[in-house]
């Protein structure tokens, strides 16, 4: 019996030892002219892993983007729904297991997930700066950092987002600033909530409050400062805990993600929704889930904006295909269709002034609908994202000081 156990242990130990790395001719890809990359990718399959909770986004990818990939490059696009944290973990597992050929070709990623992935060596690159559409249309200055972490060409810009609140104009008048929001929450118990961090949108909400109650974003831009955080964070916990008893379900529970909050808002269980996409409410009106009187607003204290990206895993089986898709996603056509609220309503990541005039006109002609705020309102309140070390500390701290307190 002992001998069998021993044999099994040895067997497992053998399985655990790292597999010898496969020959990496990937570096060649980074220097290949893009036309050759396209040729390499033609007729293949590209597997794109992305957050799957937004039906209209899935719809857009499955129909519009997939059709373009097929038409232009004869590439079959497979969208796989998976949360960013989960696929980063999957890659970590594969890296540790020495698996050189994974099954993910492109990731939709940003923020702390990007930082974790890049620091753990999970990403292929740099590749973004070789993509023709990035070179032509993207303002390099706008994509040097992702949540304060240097991008260095390891991810390609894909879209731009800014945080807005949603409300039903037939039911409520929105508050003007954070103090007004707090007063509203306390006067209307049970009608407000936010998705539970680390959900993307919920996490953005607490960052906004963090900025507002600690005196603005500037102080955090220099990077992680443990003393500063220790001094400032309690102000945030205090604010959140003060409103908690007045939240939906008395703050005993929080919606698990932004899709759940959308559902609560659309069904009238809460009075405010929130989204990282300024024209999300318009999309939902078009889709029929939100009442036609739904509108959006921002708080005077600031509305965080950021850029989201695509990246290629270190063990992507079809890196060329991933690059072709990343390049297509930042093309004027795709960015335009993505911008339209009846498609998705995600703001373009390219610099519109660099486009040919006809294309610029097409962007200007997009009807964002009555529920979407104009740049004259969004622009002045825009504040940048916090460096991701703060983000992680805030999410961990939220669990400790707000959820489990």
């Amino acid at each position: 019996m002992k001998r069998i156990a021993l044999t099994l242990m040895i067997l497992w130990a053998a399985l655990i030892l790292p597999v010898a790395p496969a020959g990496a001719d990937d570096t060649a890809l980074q220097h290949l002219p893009f036309e050759q990359i396209v040729e390499k990718a033609r007729g293949t399959e590209v597997r794109w892993y992305m957050y799957g909770g937004w039906a209209h986004v899935n719809d857009w990818v499955d129909t519009h983007v997939a059709a373009e990939m097929k038409k232009r490059y004869d590439i079959r696009l497979v969208r796989v729904p998976m949360d960013a944290g989960v696929f980063v973990n999957k890659l970590l597992n594969e890296k540790a297991a020495g698996k050189q050929k994974g099954n993910i070709d492109l990731l939709w990623i940003n923020g702390e997930n990007f930082k974790n992935a890049k620091e753990a060596g999970l990403l292929f690159g740099p590749f973004a700066d070789t993509l023709p559409n990035v070179k032509k249309y993207v303002d390099p200055a706008s994509v040097t950092h992702d949540f304060g972490y240097p991008v260095e060409g390891y991810e390609a810009p894909y879209g731009r987002a800014q945080f807005v609140f949603e409300y039903d104009s037939a039911q409520v008048t929105p508050p003007a600033d954070l103090a007004g929001l707090k007063a509203w929450i306390m006067a209307n118990p049970g009608r407000f909530t936010y998705p539970q961090p680390p959900d993307f949108t919920g996490s953005a909400f607490i960052r906004q409050v963090f900025y507002a109650v600690t005196g603005g974003h500037d102080q955090y831009m220099a990077g992680w400062d443990a003393d500063l955080f220790a001094k400032k964070a309690p102000l945030l916990w205090k604010w959140l805990n003060e409103v908690e008893p007045y939240l939906w379900q008395k703050g005993r529970t929080y919606p698990k993600d932004s899709a759940t909050l959308d559902t609560l808002f659309s069904r009238g269980e809460v009075a405010f929704g929130m989204s990282y996409h300024p024209s999300h409410a318009q999309s939902k009106i078009i889709e029929g889930s939100y009442p036609a009187t739904a509108r959006t607003f921002v708080l005077k204290d600031g509305a965080i904006f950021n850029t989201h990206f695509t990246a290629i895993p270190f063990n992507a089986p079809n890196k060329a295909g991933g690059m072709v898709l990343a390049n297509l996603l930042i093309s004027a056509d795709i960015q335009l269709s993505k911008y339209r609220p009846d498609q998705w309503g995600d703001f373009p990541a390219l610099d519109i002034s660099r486009l040919p005039e006809a294309d610029q006109k097409r962007f200007q002609d997009v009807d964002l609908g009555p529920a979407t705020l104009g740049s004259e309102i969004l622009g002045p309140v825009a504040v940048p994202e916090i460096p991701s070390a703060y983000l992680e500390a805030l999410e961990q701290g939220w669990k400790e000081h707000v959820l489990d307190k």
Partner: protein, 267 residues
Amino acid sequence: MNRTARHGSTLVVLALLFLLPVVVLVLVSLAPGWRFPDVWPAAFSLRGVDFFIRHHEKILMALASSFGFSLLTVAATLFMCLLPAAVFARHRFPGKTLLEGLLLTPALVPPMTFAMGLHFIFIKVSLADTIPGVVLILAMFSYPYMFRALVAGFQTMGEDYRICARNLGASPADILFRVEFPLLVPSIIAGGSVVFLVAFSEYFLVFLIGGGSVPSFTGTLFPLLSSSNRSLAAILTLIFLFLPVLLFVVMDISLMRAYRRKGMMSA
């Protein structure tokens, strides 16, 4: 009268518990904007159906994949259990009760507990993200249903057929495949249906071991469940309900026909 009322109430309770949800699902699938306080949807729309039609390729692919790996799981459990079930039905040996108890535990303990331990090894040996990997894991906690059904089948069959066939000169392989196997079909179907449903409706383990490479119907349905557009999730749930029912009905009918053809109907 009293009795009629009681039977009526039985049926009403059953309908309220188990049939009403289906009716409501049909309504939800046709009325994406159905909101409180409407007891009946204010407006119907085919948007959900339309969405389904536009995405039918992807959805049907996932469905086919789910069907495929579930049937493979049934085959795997049958392979695993056939001989051992015969041994269990026919032999006495020390520790048999204990072994039977042990062999049934995988259906009872939470499958996460051993599947997550295996996950990393599966990545190592390239079983993760593959259909064989998914089938192995699913078979590993669903086989007890097949096993019990087969043991019962062998026991009801008794020894007579086998002895008779052997006396007539049939080889052991002939006995197994041409005499006993056909007689076992009802047990295989009984056990196989449960195995199929367990595999077909599993979400998490397919997600974990399949890693997104093995498309599944539950995986397609899952992200839609919390979405504010409920009609699509409702449509998919209805398909979920309809297809296995169809499968079972088709199987029942074809089985009946086969038996009738062989003149085994009386058995």
